[in-house]
Symmetry: C2
Subunit: 336 residues, 2 copies
């Protein structure tokens, strides 16, 4: 809107457009004195360079995209916070896109991003994902892409994740040590690297402690809170019901709490619960919720930093970073 541009500025100063441009970019071709004059006039007229002209010419958008399943989610909100912090400090702009756990949305977003609107992409895959090909297409085109949290299992992808296997293992171990004999695992339907790795940790812990693996203890949930709650209630009412629950995502722990209230099961007496979660109020819940907490903010920061390294050095060629951060297990009353 600000209709003052280089042309206007150059007329005001009695200089050519190119000289003004060079002065503003602090080129050695311009004398110190002229630079000063230009800077002052630019300041005075509140000159703001047109970002589109600049991006068009330089083939650089100074913008990155963040593609996530949802935003009203403690984990992703914190991760974005980390991403923004790094990006803003680097002078980059951040576009966010929500896929709503919908592969179609994710695909069209990725396709769109190929238009060159951004210099790089940070993405956490939706559960309903089958778009690996599209993404590798992007990557093969030399486009910087960093996956975080929910990542593809392909080896060629730079990723930032938490030690999900270890988290699942330790959480399960903790439940076992608190006396649980039958531990259910609440997973999300579809393929999610996180949920699968966490499950593998869970299975490994069962094996280590000689607890037989029962497929009825793997509960596959959907994205609908109400039906999840019904499903969990059903599991908790069946013969040989679980006495411990490991929830792979926060919202399933919430649903478990509600389910227990409804069918009058007491946590932790009748059922011990532990969940992956970034809930700030975990310790204020009734009972306080034991959690495995991924360092979401740091994950965002690391992912963004990695992306900027990839963007900045043209040649990130053969090096593939796989960064793994530790999550912390915090035992509270729900699993004692």
């Amino acid at each position: 809107m600000s209709s003052i541009n280089l042309k206007r500025l150059s007329e005001e100063l009695g200089l050519s457009i190119s000289s003004v441009s060079k002065a503003l970019r602090d080129s050695y071709e311009i004398s110190a004195e002229t630079k000063k004059r230009v800077m002052e006039m630019a300041e005075k007229l509140n000159y703001q360079p047109n970002p589109f002209a600049s991006s068009l010419r330089r083939k650089k958008s100074l913008t990155v995209a963040v593609v996530i399943p949802e935003i009203a989610n403690n984990y992703f909100a914190l991760a974005i916070n980390g991403i923004q912090t790094v990006a803003q400090q680097k002078g980059y702009h951040v576009l966010t896109y929500l896929t709503h756990e919908n592969a179609k949305d994710q695909e069209s977003t990725i396709r769109h991003l190929q238009g060159g609107r951004v210099d790089g992409v940070l993405i956490s895959l939706c559960s309903d994902t089958s778009t690996g090909n599209q993404l590798t297409e992007l990557q093969n085109a030399g486009f910087p892409v960093v996956f975080f949290d929910r990542v593809p299992d392909a080896p060629g992808c730079p990723t930032v994740t938490t030690d999900d296997f270890d988290g699942g293992f330790k959480a399960t171990e903790q439940l076992i040590k608190s006396g649980c004999k039958k531990i259910a695992y609440l997973r999300v339907s579809g393929y999610l690297s996180t949920t699968v790795n966490r499950m593998n940790g869970y299975l490994a812990a069962l094996q280590k402690y000689g607890i037989p693996h029962d497929t009825k203890m793997i509960v596959e949930c959907s994205n609908d809170d109400d039906s999840n709650q019904e499903l969990i209630k059903k599991v908790l009412k069946m013969r040989g019901r679980p006495d411990g629950i490991l929830s792979s995502v926060e919202k399933l722990a919430i649903s478990t709490y509600y389910a227990c209230t409804e069918i009058n099961l007491k946590i932790p007496k009748d059922l011990k619960v532990i969940s992956f979660s970034c809930l700030r109020t975990a310790s204020l819940l009734s009972p306080s919720l034991s959690t495995i907490t991924p360092p979401a903010f740091e994950i965002g920061k690391e992912a963004a930093s990695l992306l900027f390294r990839m963007i900045e050095k043209k040649v990130y060629g053969n090096r593939i970073d796989k960064i793994v951060l530790n999550s912390s297990l915090i035992q509270r009353n729900s699993s004692r």
Copy 2:
């Protein structure tokens, strides 16, 4: 990155650049047959128009900015969700900027936005705000700006808010009816429309029920959780301490819970608490937290819709929309 552009496409088709462009935009100047050929080739080569060239030429970015104090906050996360939902459906892109409650950041963001990177701005002011002038400058330049939640008190601003006065009034009334005689109000330092309107509702309720207003009951908190917790503890330990607390924002209610745990005050027996909050787990807290819940998602949607109306009809001239949505008071155990 996708280096196929109109030139490449036109060569492939044996047409001129302009014809291809017109075909893609479905111009009447191009025959149906040619259009079909062009569309197919564009599809085949996965042509993605360069957004910068397009924006430069058309002076339209198809992008809006969201400027908020923080994102790791249930309210703002939900609001962004609403904004994104509307924007994505309209084919717009969303840039987000965090001010971290910092007026300097907010200023520089606004200044930057004048460069024309976006077609409109959605903003919720930071607490430390003194930048009204800058914003009206933007508005005077005919730039579409919609304020939501935390708004300036100037009459010329389109806003989307909740009935904060009413919420503060009813919440206070509820505490009084539950037997509270001395009710403290936790506010945030600096000027925030929300916190002030809520306080006025609080004061009005006190007056209606003939409760004397005591300035010591207005507790001005900062942005630091730890020092807030200390401050609240101090208030709860003083002579003539409050027996009820109305918290103007979610995080202060959390701090209150922690403070009570530390000094061994029981909610609701020793202290009744009610808070403005979008916490999904309010009913699972110990004790469950009474809340006044603003419809954050809808606020985001309304704000975005209003902004798009402003962007789309060039002339929104003398009409100023002030949309107010109702928040809902949910009484739970913390205030019974």
